[in-house]
Amino acid sequence: MTSDFSPLWSIQDYRDGFLVDGLSYDDLYKDLITTLDQDPTNAFISTIKSIPTKPNDFSKSLAGIPIAVKDNICYSKFPTTCASKMLKDWVAPYDATVVSYLLNDEATIIGKTNLDEFAMGNDTSTSFFGKSFNPWDSFKRFSPGGSSGGSAIAVTLGYSPVSIGSDTGGSIRCPASFNGILGLKPTYGRVSRYGLISYAHTLDQIGIFARYVPDLSLILEIISQNDSKDLTYKHQPFKSSLDIDNPLSVGVANNSFDVVPSDQQIQFKHILSMLEDKGYISIVPITLDELDILLPTYYVTAFSEAYSNLVRYSGQQYGFDAGNIFSTRLEGFSEEVKRRFNLGSFSLKTGYDEQLYAKSQKIRSYYVDTFTELFKKVDVIALPTMLDAAFSWDEFQSPIDSYKADLLTVPANLVGIPALSVPAGFTQKQGVKLPFGLQLLGGWWQEQKLLQIAYALQQITDYHLQTPPNLLRTN
């Protein structure tokens, strides 16, 4: 190790450490193994236990860089559990395409991160391996968000400069907002889903957490490379330029920020004004009505597709087996997964399918057209990422309260567009300083515009450099 090692290091800092400053790979990972063993947030389901094989070529862009991967993405060196008893010992016989691309660039995968079981949730509380905790409160009273809570914590606490998650209805953007880091859900089809265990296959997308925009951009460039194994993948090379030559038009609906607490409304207006004053953006009023209907539309789609993806867990081919199919599901799935399984079966039942699943697809189709028209007028749409900062564990009284918290994240999944949560400030809840994020939505394949605005914001603010008070990695 070098004496100036910092958990806030970017990928470039690690590279400089290895190539210029004599950072020892073995020492780095020896310390990291100890740190991960002592993680107080339960961010990981499995971690490295011995010093990994040293990269052959440190000139590769990710050589020796620690990266954490959500535990619903297959990697043959660790179990892939989906945080479920159903798959608790299952080891994939192959690597997901995103994992293969990271390994090709000689990244070091440090472990598989915790999530809501089968990614069905927004607080990382339903994991068979126990809930994860928001690192901003050392008393563990708040959720880190979900379902990719563990991957968000890994970046927040400096275990890795970037991490990989998946986003079906906000599962990257929600924890990014609650942890004060960047979280990108790319365009549907931008990144291969081969090796991602499906929750709702027309909504799922693999994405990225990072502290710094250039790191996020680099990882997107790497993992969005070609893949013939996923038929929904579309090859759209990504090479990001982060500087803004001409102001980008940002659509702001007059009522879209009214849904968050007043201090956050003021902060969102403040940072958008700052970006406009600096010449990075021009704010354009837009109309964005009836987004409320997208929430039940999302849940009908997600329940239905979840059902079709979960029926394979019968105990007969792989995973947990309690002797018969009924006991296997009864004991193998948690309450939330069983709930979605039953409601998905209901939504697809003959007689209801036209009224529910088919209707939900018509509504999606209508909103694809609506957003297509909006993106003819503006480059980007700005919204809050979530309705508030992190939830406390006792905040929701029923499942439906939790579902309603996804109001602002599900539209991007339903219409397939990219969306990025960017650290936008801090608020207080129960006396705890908690971060919150601004959400930027772009047209299909327009990730670059989102990253450009985020990069501009990181040039004029330091929200992304602030860290949890007590739990930050110290070695």
């Binding site: 365009t187 089809g189 027309t202 599901r329 009224q355 999606r364």
Partner: protein, 66 residues
Amino acid sequence: MVCIMSVLQQKEKRSLFLSFQSDLTGDSEDYSEIISFIERIRNFQLPESAQSTVFSLSLRSLRGDL
């Protein structure tokens, strides 16, 4: 009267179905609140042009390459 019978039958069928499903998974939860929530889409009025679309959503439209 016919209309009322039809609604009652539908509710009955729904109740029976969910009861059967619950037995399968050992889950006796009352889903009525969530079902009311998701059934809001049944009454959502789409514009005429969208109504006539039989099933226009495709993976291509999600990728914006219609």
